[in-house]
Amino acid sequence: MTTTPGPYTNAMSWQESLRLGLRTMLGRAYPRLISAVREREWLFYEVALPLLRIIAFVLVYRTLKAPPQYTGFVILGGAMMAFWLNVLWMMAAQLHWERLSGNLELYLMAPASMLWILAGMAVGGMIATLIRAVVIVAAGSLIFGVTYHLVSLPALVLVFVLTLVALYGLGSMLASLYLLYNREVWVFQEMIQEPISLVTGFYFPIRTLGGFVGGAASLIPLTLGLDAMRQLLFPQGWPAFLPIGWEILILTVLVMLFLVGAAWSFAFIERRAKVEGRLSLKWQ
């Protein structure tokens, strides 16, 4: 039998890399998408329960006799929290589950970058997240009679997309820690959830916390993203932290910083995990 020489080229062209990455992303998104269709209990605990939480915060503001636009601020904050939780728990922490089930080894052995796997997780979770956000905004606005005064739709879409991409980068950096640690990162994630809710201004203007805390909190893309979106939807009543132009610029910088940081972080931490022998440890 004739032996055909194999393709012993070491490097992939950028087109091959992109095709591989996109297939990987689609492949990993699939289980999330199909899970949303086949197991519909999430509609209750991912949508109905968070809506109740939002309603509770709205009622707190109403009891305090806050200006009516604060209802809209809370609803928008609650909607955007869905994306933050998607990144934190459905992407970063997912590697915790993948490690325990043995999938992490198989992902690492695949030729595509882990960033594509994580992108697939984020995209796959997007359906549930979008539904949650839309229901919260729609139901909350209907129940409490919120009106929005959109300044610029293209700017709103741009801010939204930049925020999501930057969040994805940040989530990827956090996910890379799971290659080396497991329980410590899980606990760290649980620990930061509430402080992040506090400093990113999900339910109140970030300006309240002062320039220093607000500035530090701006490293989390949601802080400036939320602030910009509130300025674009409630131009009169929202006490802005920074002008929209500055916030869009900073978000753009964060996108590049976190995406590059994620790529570097994965490469560095994977190397270290391989040297220490912690990549395939299930119990740490």
Partner: protein, 131 residues
């Protein structure tokens, strides 16, 4: 002859003590106890601070009306509700997915004859790994 009632009491106490120790190992032994306590306090405080800042944004900084106390107490009480309701059911779920120890415990437990837990204890890792 072993007195049935006292052996049942001892067994329940042993089960409780072992379960408490096990939960500490699973949740807290990744760090020193004082650091773990700090972490728990930080979580609770920051959850409460969200409401505090919401209050101060509207009512002015460092005011303490009656509703302020209501918010703080409510926030503190909520943590118990969350821990008891959510953590208990999470403990069963975690055991099914990761540890598969409850099955062994139930086999030797005094609850064996009356418990409905055994049918729930089949470890089924793949079915419960989130996609």
């Amino acid at each position: 002859m072993i007195h049935v009632t006292s052996s049942k009491r001892i067994s329940i106490w042993q089960t409780f003590r072992t379960a408490a120790w096990l939960e500490w190992q699973a949740q807290g032994n990744w760090t020193k106890p004082w650091l773990f306590l700090l972490y728990i306090l930080a979580r609770l405080l920051t959850a409460a601070l969200v409401l505090v800042f919401m209050y101060w944004v509207i009512s002015g900084f460092h005011t303490h009306g009656s509703f302020f106390g209501f918010l703080i107490v409510g926030s503190a009480a909520w943590s118990f509700v969350e821990q008891i309701m959510v953590r208990l059911s999470n403990a069963i779920l975690e055991d099914r997915e990761q540890f598969a120890m409850l099955k062994s415990v139930c086999q030797f437990s005094v609850l064996r004859q009356t418990s409905t837990i055994p049918p729930l204890l089949t470890p089924d890792t793949q079915a419960n790994v989130p996609a």
